[in-house]
């Protein structure tokens, strides 16, 4: 176990292992996305209230889910870097931030497109929309702080503390905004109540898996770039580049 972790924590081995893993993950992403999209856009029946409009759920829900998951991954990686000083964890945090911000933005845009036909307006100050917007600000703040500090080591640790402060605050923000105003429809996926038909749910689950593996793929691609940049003076990178 320890050996397994230390292999992933070394930039060189990470580069090698991620190179082997990438084709498989990419294939998983493409297959799940195809199944999910065809199932969701073609096979799933129209909603009895919302008609075909509801089909945007297949983009909206996965991106909203990922927007929160990525923040937790980012904060967890930041904590690992702060506590054990594992540089690869910082690479994860750094490369995750723009991805998380992109998912948050996508969730906001699809949400407001969905809002127009169902609520009659592009934007309402609804609790979930608002907390999603604040999440976007948190991502932007993290990236802004990171970009403002010139020393990479200091930038990593300072922004790490900000990510941890943010992750403590996210539940507080979420529930305070929830208490403040809510209009959003309830959760679609729930283990206790049955409020979505199977033919609609299965493509959604495929899309969620597709989004997660898409995140993993893009994260790895970004991390590989970042590793090459950080390690550009080390021997294995020079050898690899010169050897073709």
């Amino acid at each position: 176990m320890h050996r397994f972790i230390s292999q992933w924590a070394s930039p060189r081995h990470f580069y090698r292992l991620s190179g082997k893993l990438l084709p498989w993950l990419s294939a998983l992403t493409i297959i799940c996305m195809l199944v999910g999209l065809v199932g969701g856009l073609y096979f799933a029946p129209p909603d009895y209230q919302q008609g075909n409009v509801f089909r945007i759920i297949y983009i909206h829900v996965p991106s909203a889910l990922l927007s929160m998951m990525v923040y937790v991954v980012m904060a967890g990686a930041a904590a690992v870097n702060l506590i054990w000083k594992i540089k690869m964890a910082d690479v994860v945090a750094r490369c995750s931030a723009p991805l998380g911000a992109a998912f948050t933005f996508l969730a906001l845009v699809t949400g407001s497109i969905w809002g127009k036909p169902t609520w009659g307006t592009y934007w309402v100050w609804d609790a979930r929309l608002t907390s999603e917007l604040i999440l976007l600000f948190l991502y932007l703040g993290y990236m802004g702080l990171r970009a403002a500090i010139e020393t990479p080591e200091t930038a990593a640790r300072a922004s790490g503390i900000l990510a941890l402060v943010g992750v403590v605050n996210i539940p507080i923000i979420h529930y305070s905004v929830d208490w403040w105003n809510t209009l959003h429809q309830g959760t679609t996926i729930s283990f206790t109540t049955d409020n979505i038909s199977t033919s609609m749910l299965v493509p959604l689950l495929f899309m969620i898996v597709a989004f997660m593996s898409y995140y993993a793929v893009v994260l790895m691609l970004r991390m590989r770039c970042e590793i090459l940049d950080r390690e550009r003076k080390s021997r294995w990178v020079v050898q690899m580049v010169e050897g073709g």
């Binding site: 604040i134 600000f137 948190l138 932007l140 703040g141 802004g144 702080l145 403002a148 500090i149 200091t154 640790r157 300072a158 503390i161 900000l162 941890l164 402060v165 943010g166 403590v168 605050n169 507080i172 923000i173 305070s176 905004v177 208490w179 403040w180």
Partner: protein, 246 residues
């Protein structure tokens, strides 16, 4: 030689009784608090700035929205709270800035006392000279914005519980950005999302009071936020300061 060294290390400063160390830390807390207060009162003209800013922001609301008394009454809780939040945020830089520039912050970090306690002293001093005057002037501004009399108690109480949270959470942001040359804009970007809960419960309590509804729930929430911030924020701010001082 070695017989001389041994007693020195055994009775060295690290081996003192916990009670003595605790009273030492308290003395350091009081000393730093007094120093910061003295420094603040030596620069009296700066003391008035946050209050003046607060008053001017509140003056902008009637000018922008129109002098309709009913409209002003409706927006007063939010307007006063937003003004207090902005005034408190813009004064935050002062917590660590001058100490960082002249190097005394590094001396504070080098002292043997626990850093979170010293950070707490600095935040408390800062709140006493910037947060407290805002609370004193807030009812007056409420009066100008036609806030009902019944909401004044809630306004003062919510600010009493809320502004310490703003200062404490703000201290983390300032500690992270103190080493940067143009940290001001970035500081607002970092802090405003974290201030959302305080604003919601603060303005919400004044709003409820203005409508004659009970305000206990919001004040309890603010109290919980305040307690949480008092306990956790000094540690995060101290850790952030240590990074900025590297």
């Amino acid at each position: 030689m070695s017989s001389q060294d041994a007693p020195v290390t055994a009775a060295g400063p690290r081996r003192r009784r916990p009670a003595a160390a605790r009273s030492d830390a308290l003395r350091a807390f009081a000393g730093l608090l007094r120093r910061d207060l003295v420094l603040a009162f030596r620069r009296r003209s700066e003391l008035a700035n946050p209050v003046l800013f607060f008053v001017m922001v509140e003056t902008l609301f009637p000018l922008a929205l129109g002098a309709d008394n009913d409209l002003l009454r409706a927006v007063a809780p939010g307007a006063v709270w937003v003004g207090a939040l902005l005034a408190s945020m813009l004064s935050l830089e002062g917590i660590f800035r001058s100490d960082f520039d002249d190097g005394s912050l590094e001396q504070i970090a080098l002292s043997p006392h626990p850093m979170p306690i010293l950070v707490g002293a600095k935040v408390l001093a800062h709140w006493l000279v910037t947060g407290l005057p805002l609370i004193l002037v807030a009812p007056l501004l409420g009066l100008l914005l036609n806030l009902p009399q019944s909401a004044f108690a809630a306004l003062v109480l919510s600010l009493l519980l809320g502004t310490p949270v703003l200062s404490l959470v703000g201290a983390i942001g300032v500690a992270l950005t103190v080493g940067l040359r143009h940290g001001g804009m970035l500081l607002s970007l970092l802090l405003l999302p974290l201030y959302v809960p305080v604003l919601i419960f603060g303005a919400g309590s004044v709003e409820s009071a203005a409508q004659g509804l009970p305000v206990v729930a919001q004040l309890y929430f603010l109290g919980a936020l305040c307690t949480g911030a008092v306990v956790l924020a000094p540690f995060a701010a101290a850790a952030a300061l240590r990074i900025s001082l590297e």
